[in-house]
């Protein structure tokens, strides 16, 4: 249990200098390996002595995983690029400001200096029952301690819960989904590119993992195409403490307008389910409509259809409804007509 917050368990530390070597080490060590990026998630697990990997693969020395490469086709961001670099990069601020906003709202400046984009999208759930080492479903056990009448579940899921009710806590994930990003993965079979929304998985598919990475897989970069460059963006994060906190919920949208009419849109929310959700039905419902309060309200209502609150998180339903409305009609239209 999480009582010793000091001495980490012993492990073999590997410090590869190339992505190929890193992938090979991950593959050789299989489920005994832990890939270490910024360490902000990993060190919690290690210092709490809940995870005891035999091998830690430190990716800090792999230069090809760092940096931002721009081209006419878009931008490719190495998985080990820090969130500060992402948030301050001039091209990202100019053309993909949605991601810059999202990265800038992650935790605190110190954490953004250390934390990486790859780590932010691949981080584990923050449910305290799970993080404290209790034998819940996500930990391979047989119960969800949060989904009970006395469970502390204020921050948990309202959509797509399947035994586990933990949520994905990433801020950059919905922005990357809205930007139609591709995640580049190096596996034993070669390189693979997956859509951002397909990188994340819910408990229905695999209750012990939050993304598709298998043992031996390495996320190397995230590629953002130019399709949505300089579109109309909206990002909002709601949290308890505005200086430094995980999201209670966040929303990201990219919109193309023709006058006041919505030509095309991509919209994603996070911290409502175990994976960031792209709201395709909402996107379809607003396409071709005038960008106004009524459109936003209808979209907000559609977005929360099927939501099931737990004992202490019913507030997330109106919160999601309002965030979706604001993402579509803008903050100035935020007041609800009804």
């Amino acid at each position: 249990m999480a009582v010793i917050r000091d001495v980490m368990p012993a492990f073999h530390l590997y410090q590869p200098t190339s992505a190929a070597d890193a992938q090979k080490l991950l593959e050789q060590n299989g489920t005994d390996a832990l890939a270490l990026a910024g360490g902000l998630d990993s060190f919690d697990w290690l210092k709490d002595r809940i995870r005891k990997p035999k091998a830690v693969i430190d990716l800090g020395g792999v230069r090809e995983l760092k940096g931002i490469r721009t081209s006419d086709d878009g931008v490719e961001i190495g998985a080990m690029t820090t969130l500060t670099e992402v948030a301050q990069h001039p091209v990202i601020r100019e053309k993909y400001s949605l991601l810059a906003q999202a990265a800038e709202l992650v935790a605190s400046p110190q954490i953004r200096n250390q934390g990486t984009l790859g780590g932010n999208v691949s981080q584990d759930a923050r449910c305290w029952y799970y993080r404290a080492g209790w034998p819940c479903y996500r930990a391979g056990g047989n119960i969800c301690y949060a989904d009970t009448p006395v469970g502390r579940n204020r921050e948990h899921a309202i959509l797509h819960a399947d035994r586990c009710v933990a949520v994905n806590p990433s801020d950059t994930a919905p922005a990357l989904i809205a930007l139609d990003a591709k995640f580049l993965i190096l596996t034993s079979k070669g390189r693979q590119a997956v859509d951002a929304e397909d990188y994340f998985i819910g408990p229905d598919l695999d209750i012990t993992h939050m993304n598709i990475l298998q043992p031996g897989d390495l996320l190397t970069a995230i590629r953002i195409p130019a399709n949505w460059a300089s579109a109309e963006f909206y990002f909002e994060k709601v949290r308890d403490r505005n200086v430094w906190d995980f999201p209670l919920m966040n929303v990201a949208s990219a919109m193309k307008l023709s006058g006041c009419t919505i030509q095309n849109m991509r919209l994603a929310v996070n911290a409502v389910a175990a994976r960031p959700l792209r709201l395709k039905l909402v996107e379809d419902s607003v396409r071709g409509k005038v960008r106004e309060a009524a459109t936003g309200e209808a979209a907000g209502r559609l977005a929360v259809e099927g939501a099931v609150p737990l004992q202490f998180n019913a507030y997330k339903i109106p919160l999601m409804r309002n965030l979706v409305k604001r993402a579509i009609s803008g903050v100035q239209e935020a007041a609800w007509a009804s």
Binding site: P135, N142, L205
Partner: protein, 253 residues
């Protein structure tokens, strides 16, 4: 190496999590070994079983065709078989790394199995010869004779069985116990799954029993459930063996 895997709950209880997963392989290997040994025995060693002569029957009084199983019984059999196969695949494929929404298929198949068995109990009790599937005194006497003859000791010829041989009756009994245990423990597992059925809301309502009691129910049910499903895996392979290998000559005079 324990048969059960245990953990400590937030309430300080030692709770069973599930059976050790290696037992899945034990069940599978046991099934395959049974299949091979049974096939070798039937092919090379089994002798034709001799039965005592039947009492004379007026053949003219018999209908030209005597159905062994009614349509309802056959439908039940295949629905149950399909449900069990879906349950086995959806239980074990995720353990082998296949990712799919197995819980949905699993609880639906479990519900079909439970309903089909409920139907079977009613049908067999009130519309069929209820006692025909249960071992009786004649079965035990004939089993003793067969065993003595198998061991080379003097014994009279066993009588020809009626509808079911003793092996079928015993097999039915074991499958019944396992099936009912899987259903009972599966119902407890349903308390933690969101479905159109009201099981989870019943769990929430009965939470006044105490979270420790509820956690223990679900935990023990999962341990039992995983244990019984491994037994079902072993028995399903036995059933397939019986079905695939023509061993009628063991029983026919």
């Amino acid at each position: 190496m324990g048969i059960l895997e245990w953990a400590t709950s937030p309430l300080g209880q030692r709770v069973p999590i599930h059976i050790a997963w290696f037992l899945i392989w034990v069940a599978l290997i046991a099934g395959l070994v049974f299949l091979v040994v049974h096939a070798i025995y039937v092919r090379y060693f089994a002798e034709k079983t001799a039965f005592a002569a039947d009492p004379p029957v007026n053949v003219g009084q018999l209908p030209t065709r005597i159905p062994r199983h009614s349509l309802a019984a056959r439908l039940f059999h295949w629905i149950m078989a399909a449900a069990i196969f879906v349950l086995l695949f959806t239980a074990f494929l995720p353990k082998l790394g296949f990712r799919f929404d197995w819980v949905t298929y699993h609880w639906i198949a479990g519900t079909v199995l439970a309903l089909s068995i409920f139907f079977h109990i009613i049908h067999a009790t009130f519309y069929l010869d209820f006692w025909s599937i249960w071992p009786d005194r004649a079965d035990l006497e004939d089993a003793r004779k067969r065993f003595r003859r198998f061991m080379g000791k003097p014994a009279g010829l066993p009588r020809k069985f009626a509808k079911y041989p003793l092996e079928n009756k015993l097999y039915h009994g074991v499958v019944m116990l396992t099936g009912l245990a899987v259903i009972a423990t599966g119902i407890f597992m349903m308390f933690r799954v969101r479905t159109i059925l009201p099981a989870q809301s019943l769990f929430i309502q009965r939470y006044d029993l105490g979270p420790d009691v509820c956690a223990a129910w679900v935990g023990r049910s999962r341990a039992d459930h995983s244990g019984h499903r491994s037994c079902l895996l072993r028995r399903a392979s036995g059933e397939i063996t019986d079905y695939c290998i023509d061993d009628r000559r063991l029983h026919e005079p």
